[in-house]
Amino acid sequence: MKYLKSFGAFWYDFIVGDDWHVAALVVGGLAITAVLTHVAHVNAWWLLPLVAFAALGWSLHRVTASRRQ
């Protein structure tokens, strides 16, 4: 069990890293892009870059704002 936990922790740290919100936003952005493209037939190529920029900005704001307090 301990081995499994450390194995999981390694992959979590390797892929997700310090801020899971970024990973969640990227996955959410991809899901919405897929829905817009396949269901609403909108070629939403612009959505994922916007989500990526917003995720980075929000993550930077959160970590630096907490340090300033």
Binding site: F14, I15, V16, G17, D18, D19, V22, A23, V26, V27, L30, A31, T33, A34, T37, H38, N43, A44, W45, L47, L48, P49, A52, F53, A55, L56, G57, S59, L60, V63, T64, R67, R68
Partner: protein
């Protein structure tokens, strides 16, 4: 797409990983024992070869659309984490990754550890340290080579970039026998973060079904735009810090 951007991207990304692995290997070998250190390195390289042999061909059998969706998501997440750290380091919110101080930390830890023979290895500490260091950094190299190579359908070019990086860093390490402190690591990480985020966003969106305007040529716009946005975040954080008059926090431990 021309193979040169792919080779250069993989080369820069793998150089950063190789420099970090070299620091650990040098600190262990010089302070403790080269034989066990090389055994640890060799064991890690065998493990990496097994992982690559198992994962590489399996990935090539996956449908390209699904592969681009999953790999694009992983690369975008990976790239944004690299960019986040690079921006925080560039603005003083996170201590710069200093190979000289990382080397000194490793040396101090290696000197403090006791020597213990185990499983045919004369110094188990040197073995495990070299094994972990090379395996962890090597996994990132394998990840980058496989994802970039399969997505661009040019694994050979990605391997050339990675191999060139490892050879250059190894030869430089042998020549100077010291950690490569002159490498502008943060700016290289910034550049790699930009490339990973751009390629990840491009492939991820393509996997989700979008058609990029101009097809592959969209990357020529996406890469500079990602770099500009990240640079703008550096400018924003610096100006905000200056306005607040807050001192830079340098105490964060760098992983």
């Amino acid at each position: 797409m021309n193979a040169l951007p792919l080779i250069l991207t993989v080369f820069v990304a793998c150089t950063v990983e190789a420099v970090e692995a070299l620091t650990i290997v040098l600190a262990t070998g010089i302070t403790r024992e080269w034989r066990s250190t090389f055994q640890g390195m060799a064991a890690a390289l065998v493990a990496l070869a097994v992982i690559t042999a198992a994962v590489g061909p399996a990935i090539s059998y996956l449908p390209l659309t699904g592969l681009r969706l999953v790999v694009g998501a992983l690369l975008a997440i990976f790239g944004l984490q690299w960019l986040r750290k690079a921006v925080l380091r560039a603005t003083g919110y996170k201590a710069l990754h200093d190979e000289a101080s990382a080397y000194l930390r490793e040396v101090a830890a290696a000197e403090a550890a006791t020597k213990e023979a185990k499983r045919g290895v004369s110094d188990w500490y040197s073995f495990t340290l070299a094994f972990k260091g090379v395996l962890l950094e090597g996994l990132e190299v394998v990840f980058i080579v496989i994802t970039f190579g399969t997505n661009q359908q040019n694994v050979g070019a990605a391997v050339i970039g990675a191999a060139a990086a490892i050879v250059v860093v190894t030869l430089t390490g042998i020549a100077v026998r010291a950690p490569l402190t002159k490498v502008p690591e943060n700016w290289m990480k910034f550049a790699v973060g930009v490339m990973l985020t751009s390629f990840g966003t491009f492939w991820g969106a393509e996997g989700a079904g979008v058609a990029w305007p101009g097809n592959d040529a969209a990357l020529l716009v996406l890469v500079p735009v990602v770099a500009l946005v990240a640079a703008a975040y550096i400018f924003w954080l610096r100006s905000r810090k200056t306005a607040a008059g807050a001192p830079a926090k340098q105490s964060e431990v760098v992983a």
